[in-house]
């Protein structure tokens, strides 16, 4: 009897072991698949950007015989990529600063004070997160035209700042909500007024939230395409995203240079992500985006 029980336990253990290995195998297959799926296309893109067009046509998956850094030089020369890069940097930085200033001020008022219409303002702004902004192409185009801003960087700066507001407010307000009331009261006793409480107490304490908002806003500005295409037309104001879209026309036969241009356009985003990874993940996870 005892022996039987013992052997049953042992068999169970063996089954358990087997099934555990089996389950782990499934897990690693799934995780491995998604790793391959995420990385392989990017690796292929970078490798192809270092090949000659002949090599690419002959064997799409083969490695280059010699690395063709010439392609990267072409990408800069033919398309004026440097200029586009500069435009993207100017637009993204300015729009991010404007967006974060406006949303910090608004978040401070909403998070720290009670006033009439507060709920309405906050509800409207949070609903803005879900608005498919691409549906607003016609009116935004007409608005920018009427303001006399068509084909200027300012058009993009205003549009991006405004369209990023709902998300930034959501993130920054979330952080400001957690600051204890006592700190503010201490400030009042020390004679701080509305503005001093903002920049001496609340703003420094919300730094983590603001950095998260900056990261998301910058990535949004850097990667935005629809309004960049719609609101600008000249090389002096175009951003990288619109530029690489037009590369596919400029480089109709020189695919590998096109790959080089795309690789260059991806690098800042990946680099920024690797540096600000913590902020992005905390932004996505600490209730900022999910409510």
């Amino acid at each position: 009897m005892n022996e039987m029980a013992y052997s049953r336990v042992r068999n169970n253990r063996i089954n358990l072991y087997k099934s555990k290995t089996f389950k782990n195998a499934i897990m690693w297959i799934v995780l491995g698949f998604f790793l391959f799926y995420t990385i392989a296309p990017l690796v292929w893109l970078v490798i192809s950007s270092l090949k000659t067009n002949g090599e690419l046509m002959g064997a799409p998956l083969a490695l280059p015989k010699t690395l063709q850094f010439q392609n990267y030089k072409n990408a800069f020369e033919v398309s004026g990529l440097g200029r586009l890069f500069l435009n993207s940097i100017i637009v993204s930085i300015t729009a991010t600063i404007l967006n974060v200033i406006v949303s910090s001020m608004a978040s401070y008022s909403i998070a720290r004070y009670d006033f009439k219409g507060k709920e309405l303002i906050f509800t409207l702004i949070s609903a803005g997160i879900m608005v498919p902004v691409s549906a607003l192409m016609v009116p935004v185009f007409i608005l920018i035209k009427n303001l006399g801003l068509y084909d200027t960087k300012l058009a993009l700066i205003l549009t991006y700042s405004a369209m990023g507001l709902p998300l930034s407010i959501f993130i920054i307000r979330g952080f400001m909500n957690t600051i204890p009331k006592e700190l503010e009261e201490a400030g009042v006793i020390d004679g701080c007024n509305f503005y001093q409480i903002f920049y001496k107490i609340i703003l420094p304490l919300s730094r983590a939230g603001i950095v998260t908002a900056i990261t998301f806003q910058f990535l949004y500005c850097w990667n935005e395409f629809i309004y960049a295409m719609l609101l600008t037309s000249s090389q002096t104001n175009r951003t990288v995203q619109v530029g690489i879209r037009f590369f596919s026309n400029q480089f109709t036969t020189d695919y590998t240079s096109m790959f080089a241009a795309i690789t260059i356009s991806i690098i800042p985003a990946i680099a920024g992500y690797v540096v600000f990874q913590k902020q992005i993940i905390s932004g996505l996870t600490s209730g900022a985006v999910k409510g």
Partner: protein
């Protein structure tokens, strides 16, 4: 409500003024504009003429518009019912904290920081019938007879354009993973003592407890399926034979042919569909509390 000093009141007004101006200019005015102009015939130059619901009738009588609604619905279903479940699966695996889970979490998110334009051009190259990686890969593994012109085929192009993005699960995975990580360990320990298998634990403990973030992810994925534009604009421009036309691309084309009334009406339909998605998914998950 405590009494605010006059100084603070002025401060609040000053601090809210910029956002009120920007938000009104770029959200409230545009939506109002769409609503009004959707009832007019307007080429952007001459005076608009009131035509009532004629624009909407024209849209629903246009087989291309109907196809683009269908394509958007397919896209949002793929997002909600393929992409999100895949993300849940991966999040559940990563929540067990296997070796290198943090590295995987970082890498899975890569496609979300790269612009849709770059990703689209990259996949256009992958799908290319001449030098594309997909046909190259098929040849390499001995399946050369499966090689196709992925973006030129009447039946394959739509799935090709929709499906590649469905496997980029990083964004939703991170949201869900965080929610799973916040579940107290004791729940699983108790279940373990009661003899629940791992699969049972995930089904009866994890899934119900992360319901809210699954709901959020489904809403985001589905709204994304509605508003998407860059992929089709860049990869196929709606072709072949309008097979990959989507609503925003349709709107864009109407705008470019100066049929602003029609463009506005399709914008309104898009916004209404967005509201339906949000309300519908909330109903599905019985989430009452306002989220996002």
């Amino acid at each position: 409500m405590e009494k605010l000093s006059i100084n603070s009141k002025i401060g609040i007004i000053l601090f809210l003024l910029p956002i009120i101006i920007l938000f009104t200019a770029f959200f409230i005015y545009p939506i109002g504009f769409l609503l009004v102009t959707s009832f007019y015939k307007w080429d952007g130059l001459s005076a608009p003429t009131l035509v009532g619901i004629k624009n909407y009738l024209t849209l629903f009588n246009d087989p291309v518009f109907r196809l683009s609604i269908k394509n958007n619905v397919g896209w949002l279903l793929a997002g909600g019912f393929i992409q999100v479940p895949l993300a849940i699966t991966v999040a559940i695996f990563l929540a067990r904290k296997p070796k290198g889970w943090e590295f995987l979490r970082t890498v899975y998110y890569f496609p979300n920081v790269i612009s849709v334009v770059a990703i689209s051009i990259m996949w256009m190259a992958i799908y290319n019938s001449g030098y594309g990686a997909l046909n190259g890969l098929l040849k390499l593994v001995g399946l050369a007879n499966l090689q196709r012109n992925w973006l030129g085929d009447l039946h394959l192009t739509y799935p090709a354009v929709v499906l590649y993005g469905v496997f980029y699960i990083g964004y939703f995975m991170i949201i869900i993973l965080a929610e799973i990580s916040s579940i107290p360990k004791q729940y699983y320990e108790v279940a373990c003592i009661d003899g629940a298998s791992r699969l049972q634990q995930e089904f009866y403990i994890t899934l119900p407890l992360i319901r809210n973030s699954i709901c959020t992810c489904m809403i985001i994925a589905m709204v994304y399926g509605l508003r998407q534009f860059e992929q089709t604009y860049i990869m196929t421009n709606g072709g072949p034979a309008n097979k990959t036309m989507v609503m925003v691309l349709y709107l864009f084309k109407k705008m470019h042919s100066f049929r602003y009334g029609l463009a506005s009406a399709s914008g309104i339909i898009l916004l209404i569909m967005g509201v339906f998605v949000i309300v519908g998914v909330r109903k599905l998950f019985k989430v009452e509390k306002y989220q996002m």
